[in-house]
Symmetry: C2
Subunit: 151 residues, 2 copies
DNA sequence: AGCAGTTATATTGTGTGCAATATAATTTGA
DNA sequence: TCAAATTATATTGCACACAATATAACTGCT
């Protein structure tokens, strides 16, 4: 094996632990969120809408770094579940405004325990979690910039 | 908005930047790996197999934190593409051994440039990348432990 | 006014992820 | 020894992600 090949070792990759951590986090969230009737991406949408609603599909997608190909079917499922509303913006009919139903607002109370429930199971200190969050948030900024430069 | 609700703010979540970074990384890798005829998870499988082959499906899955429900169809596509082989282990017929074809071995030469290509596009120093990797690798260990404790 | 270019969302097709279940092979223990 | 429990992979069904494309609506420009 040549020296160059060391860069192809799995434990040298930066992307792989991110990928694995994201999957593992999703698996941890799943049973907790299932009690709320949400998947993890749906939970993220609710976090965005609980902060402000209504918002356009594009605005939600910009916040979550997701496009309409992912969000449209996801939002339709959430609409069927009675959590959100979808209606064309009267002032710009190209846009669809996503709102929160009374049931969606009520769900926020049940969701309040979720972050603590999951954090407590990890055995990491608040400081460690905060450092980790800041570090990866910075990376997301770098990656989003790199993505924007390409297109 | 009550104090408790602050924990539900998107920018307070640890999981979300991991999720977003994983997706954004996948988007950055996609065009580069497409030239090799690989998706990102397939690339990870090749990294594992280039280190050692053959390996059982379970061994690959343990390394990548993926199960047979994900790996079986993925490996079948890679087999169809002529990159890997799949055959029952003669000593334990429950297991399937995944090997690398000559074409799969040859692909390693083309892949050697991938890590550098992507890292150079980010504008992060080697030290920053190394710190980030170590930090998230540690998290993966914590999450994998938490997962194991549940089951 | 009206057409070209742009914008916002929807659709289609492919490839993951994963829980639940099924199937087949191995191991264990009475 | 042989049936029960365990193990390894495969299958099924559902929900993302995303590129490519389609469609409808808006904006600018003449």
């Amino acid at each position: 094996m040549r020296e160059d090949d060391d860069f192809l070792r799995l434990d040298r990759q930066v992307c792989f632990p991110l990928y694995a951590a994201s999957n593992l986090f999703g698996r941890l969230y799943r049973p907790v969120l299932a009690e709320l009737g949400l998947t993890y991406p749906q939970y993220l949408v609710m976090l965005v809408l609980w902060e402000q609603a209504p918002q356009s599909v594009g605005a939600v997608g910009e916040r979550l770094h997701l496009d309409s190909g992912t969000l449209t079917p996801l939002l339709k499922r959430m609409e069927s579940a009675g959590l959100v509303t979808r209606q064309r913006d009267a002032t710009d009919e190209r846009r669809v405004l996503v709102g929160v139903t009374a049931q969606g607002v009520a769900l926020r109370d049940a969701a309040r325990a979720v972050p603590q429930t999951l954090a407590s199971g990890l055995g990491l200190s608040a400081a460690e979690l905060s450092d980790l969050r800041a570090t990866v948030q910075h990376l997301v900024g770098v990656l989003a910039t790199a993505e924007a430069e390409v297109s």
